[in-house]
Symmetry: C2
Subunit: 226 residues, 2 copies
């Protein structure tokens, strides 16, 4: 396991691929995971094409999981539990799992402007209920526009609320600093993911009402300068 | 009923008083409501002191309700139902009730960084369930800092997500335009208040973690210029 590598499960999707591109651009090795090997390999090829010299590998989710101290879950909500069941045996103490998931009602065929209730409180807390002891879960990146991530020449004007246990939380906040425009905000305990995840549904509705296909972001006003 | 008057129930509290000051400053007549007449009268005096020439009256909630086409509820969540029971007989068809309420867990003695579940989905939807037919409910102003509202010389850097039925929603969006710095954002249907209300709890946590007693706000990035 290379300490600098970042694993992105669902790195074949728009948002995961966007993160892979951004992290590769600043020289971080990337392990893209997918349920289908050929899709992961294809996504890795895309990253190398956009970022010459990028150190990126396409793997099955369970393999990608073993490659990095930080494993980002960028998968549709309906695939969270099945993916967690696939990877939980591979996770080891000390690893950090980042939940980007949002329980959008699309998981049941309803609209993306609504969310489902999750027994554990949020997608991130559901993840926390599924990982082995010693693996810690952080919530982040839900509200970052996939389109804007993929436009490598532009900044991504968005605050990222990072919640979860102290230590892992700060490590994920540092990752945010690798992407120009993003600002990490200390979101406190993991349970605050309930709020942050729901904001995604609000943003999706605003994107539609204001016709902003590139996607809106959020900023907090009045924060002290870093 | 003067068409320009704005009624603010709970206008004796920090946030309601802040709105009263701001609206009075741009010449709108204000009816401040309270459960206790002497508190309403005292709040009205404060407004006149800060805004010379302000047209402002302190009244019981049920009286203030009859004075304005728009009635803003700026009261603690635990007093919503009792207040609605007091005023519902006085509300008439065509009036717009604005819910600023947030179901903070403080209502039950727990912390302000957590919210309670509300059967109807949100405080605003609870209000909608209590008002007579023909009275319409809009959700707004939850995330606007009381401190910043009261500093009349400064702008209030915050977006206000306004949700509710078309027509009344636009009327409340216009009110936002009266306060320098505030920007109204079309928040779609009233049910989106579920998200907006929960953001207040997140902001309260951020105020504490980042030590910003004046209160943070939010902005959406990427919105087209008005």
């Amino acid at each position: 396991m290379n300490e600098n590598t970042i694993a992105i499960l669902g790195g074949t999707g728009d948002q995961g691929l966007g993160l892979a591109l951004r992290f590769a651009k600043v020289g971080r090795p990337i392990a893209i995971g997918s349920r289908k090997l050929e899709r992961a390999v294809e996504a890795a090829r895309k990253v190398r094409e956009a970022v010459p010299g990028a150190e990126v590998e396409g793997l099955l989710n369970e393999e990608a999981t073993t490659r990095a101290p930080i494993v980002i879950l960028s998968i549709p909500f309906e695939h969270f539990v099945s993916t967690l069941k696939t990877i939980r045996e591979r996770l080891v103490e000390g690893q950090v799992v980042v939940s980007m998931g949002v329980p959008l009602a699309t998981a049941l065929g309803d609209a993306a402007v609504r969310t489902l209730g999750v027994w554990q409180g949020s997608c991130a807390e559901l993840v926390a209920a599924f990982v082995p002891k010693g693996v810690r879960v952080v919530s982040a990146f839900q509200n970052v526009s996939a389109h804007r991530l993929q436009r490598l020449e532009e900044e991504v004007p968005c605050d990222v609320v990072v919640s979860g246990p102290k230590g892992p939380r700060e490590r994920v906040m540092e990752l945010c600093g690798l992407i120009p425009g993003l600002r990490a905000v200390d979101g406190g305990p993991l349970a605050n993911a309930r709020i942050v995840e729901s904001v995604t549904a609000l943003l999706i509705g605003l994107n539609v009402r204001y016709k902003v296909p590139e996607g809106l972001g959020i900023r907090f006003t009045g924060l002290p300068e870093a």
